[in-house]
């Protein structure tokens, strides 16, 4: 934790530079009718981008936590299955996962749902009733759960053995050990890389545009195709993503500092 004291003192020159560039671009946007038109239309995609990012990140974190616990399981089968999942998913490009989930897994899930539903007398549904935005969210969840599980695993393993022994000695049961002793310590190791994954997911959510989900990127693609102004459009797309990712980074830093301060005062 010694290195971190440095970035408390550093004046954030990079941020000042970003703000200056942002002000310049912002002025461009306001001054130019074309930029303003693009921005107005693109804003419609921001909600979708944020929705896709938050939902898939939440689901990926839950699945990632389960996988991390699975990796530390006392059963060989569970450990090997988790390892298999993490290694395979981590090695497949997200765009390929998106197409697999959308056009192979989703129809299979619908078939399974209809097979099971048939037994309890439910009406069968069609594949099209499984919206593409949810297929995209599932694909991002699968992709990021593999990365996030590694983050959790590292954080959980970083908790000293003695802490767990002490918890046991106090007579805490398994869940209490995890909730009261292991997790509160692990979260400090987990937070920075987890936040990093969140910022990365804001950008990677742009891949859902291959399924036609109307996020900022897909709208940018559509706008550029209609106005033939490729650069202007993507400048605005970049500006929107930067605004989201940088404000998120700043919020995460604050939160990390908060965790650290809490640690030192405790």
């Amino acid at each position: 934790m010694a290195a971190s004291s440095n970035d408390k003192e550093d004046f954030p020159w990079w941020l000042a530079a970003v703000v200056l560039i942002g002000l310049y671009l912002g002025w461009q946007v306001v001054a130019s009718e074309l930029y303003l038109q693009i921005l107005t239309t693109l804003t419609k995609g921001i909600k979708t981008t944020i929705f896709v990012t938050i939902v898939s990140f939440t689901l990926a974190s839950l699945l990632g936590l389960l996988l991390a616990l699975g990796a530390g399981s006392k059963w060989l089968v569970v450990r090997q299955v988790t390892r298999f999942y993490v290694e395979v998913v981590r090695g497949v490009p997200i765009i390929v996962l998106l197409l697999y989930v959308a056009f192979a897994l989703a129809p299979a899930l619908v078939e399974l749902r209809n097979y099971l539903g048939d037994m309890i007398g439910l009406e069968p549904i069609r594949t099209r009733q499984f919206p593409l935005i949810w297929r995209a969210i599932i694909a991002l969840m699968v992709a990021y759960s593999a990365f996030i599980s590694e983050v959790f695993r590292a954080g959980l393993q970083a908790v000293e053995e003695g802490q767990i022994e002490a918890a046991k000695a106090l007579g805490l049961n398994g869940w209490q050990q995890f909730r009261l002793v292991i997790f509160p310590q692990a979260i400090r190791t987990i937070m920075p890389p987890l936040g990093n994954d969140f910022v990365a997911l804001v950008k990677d959510s742009s891949l859902v545009s291959v399924l036609g989900v109307l996020d900022v990127t897909q709208l940018g693609k559509v706008i550029a195709a209609g106005n033939f102004r490729y650069f202007e459009t993507y400048n605005v797309v970049a500006l929107i993503y930067l605004t989201m990712t940088i404000s998120l980074s700043l919020a995460l830093r604050r939160f990390e500092r908060h965790l650290r301060d809490k640690e030192t005062t405790e």
Binding site: T127, R128, L211, L214, K221, V222, N227, F228, R229
Partner: protein, 263 residues
């Protein structure tokens, strides 16, 4: 003059279509889910001023819907996903200037053609080394840009180059805008596009791009359907009646001549 003719034609054909409409099937308001990408002006694109989806295909689909009594529901798709999604029945119909091609027929059913488009060669505004397809093909230093799986890609491979789809002289791009940017910065020397989009890019480039050579071959556009779709004969009947009474021609005039793209 042209306007007068169009109005007169519409009046005459309007009567004719009333007679024809009696022969068209009535699908009783059946819901048809249509996939669009809105990235192919002037067939379907986002009006830069209002952000609404407009274009030739929207007008045509509205007219078809009226003639055979269907309710159209539009859903957004992307080009990459459209053929697989229609093929598996996610949508009832896909439209985005899809060229009728044998290999695609293995996946989806096509309607009859509703539009024919010509392929044009776009080059940098200051290009002076070649001015036709043969001139481009002759020099192995010249590179072309294309999107994989699109008609311009296949025309570049088979009509301009040597028929080798892995020919290193073709640089692949994810979308056409990126290909055009590569052309403008000199990474490639040629990009093909159908005449309408080509004109749009050239107009918007302020002299940065130009069109050279004769049109290269033609392509017929059709709507796509899941295999075995019962909609095909009805849509074909509507297309035939719109062809016969001049509705399609009037749409061509509206979107290809009167509407100014990129302005």
């Amino acid at each position: 003059m042209k306007t007068i003719f169009t109005v007169a034609a519409a009046a005459v054909f309007g009567l004719a279509s009333g007679a024809l409409a009696a022969d068209l099937p009535d699908l009783g308001g059946q819901e048809v889910v249509v996939a669009t990408e809105n990235a192919y002006p002037p067939l379907q694109f986002m009006d830069p001023k209002t952000g609404n989806a407009i274009g030739w295909e929207y007008d045509a689909m509205a007219e078809i819907a009226k003639r055979i009594n269907i309710t159209v529901v539009y859903e957004n798709s992307s080009w990459d996903a459209m053929i697989p999604a229609v093929s598996e029945g996610q949508y009832d119909l896909g439209m985005t200037g899809i060229t009728i091609r044998e290999d695609r027929m293995e996946k989806v059913d096509f309607s009859d053609k509703y539009l024919t488009s010509q392929m044009r060669m776009i080059v940098a505004g200051d290009e002076s080394r070649f001015d036709d397809a043969a001139g481009f093909a002759a020099n192995s230093d010249f590179l072309a840009a294309a999107q994989p799986g699109t008609t311009p890609f296949y025309v570049t491979v088979y009509d301009i180059l040597d028929g080798d789809e892995a020919n290193p002289r073709i640089k692949l791009f994810e979308n056409f805008g990126a290909a055009i940017q590569a052309l403008r910065v000199g990474d490639v020397d040629l990009a093909l596009s159908d005449s309408t989009a080509a004109n749009g890019y050239v107009t918007a480039s302020n002299g940065g791009l130009k069109i050279v050579g004769e049109p290269l071959g033609t392509e017929d556009f059709g709507f796509i359907f899941p295999k075995g779709s019962k909609l095909v004969p009805s849509i074909n009947a509507a297309i035939a009646s719109m062809e016969a009474d001049g509705t399609l021609e009037a749409l061509n005039t509206k979107w290809f001549l009167d509407y100014k793209l990129g302005q």
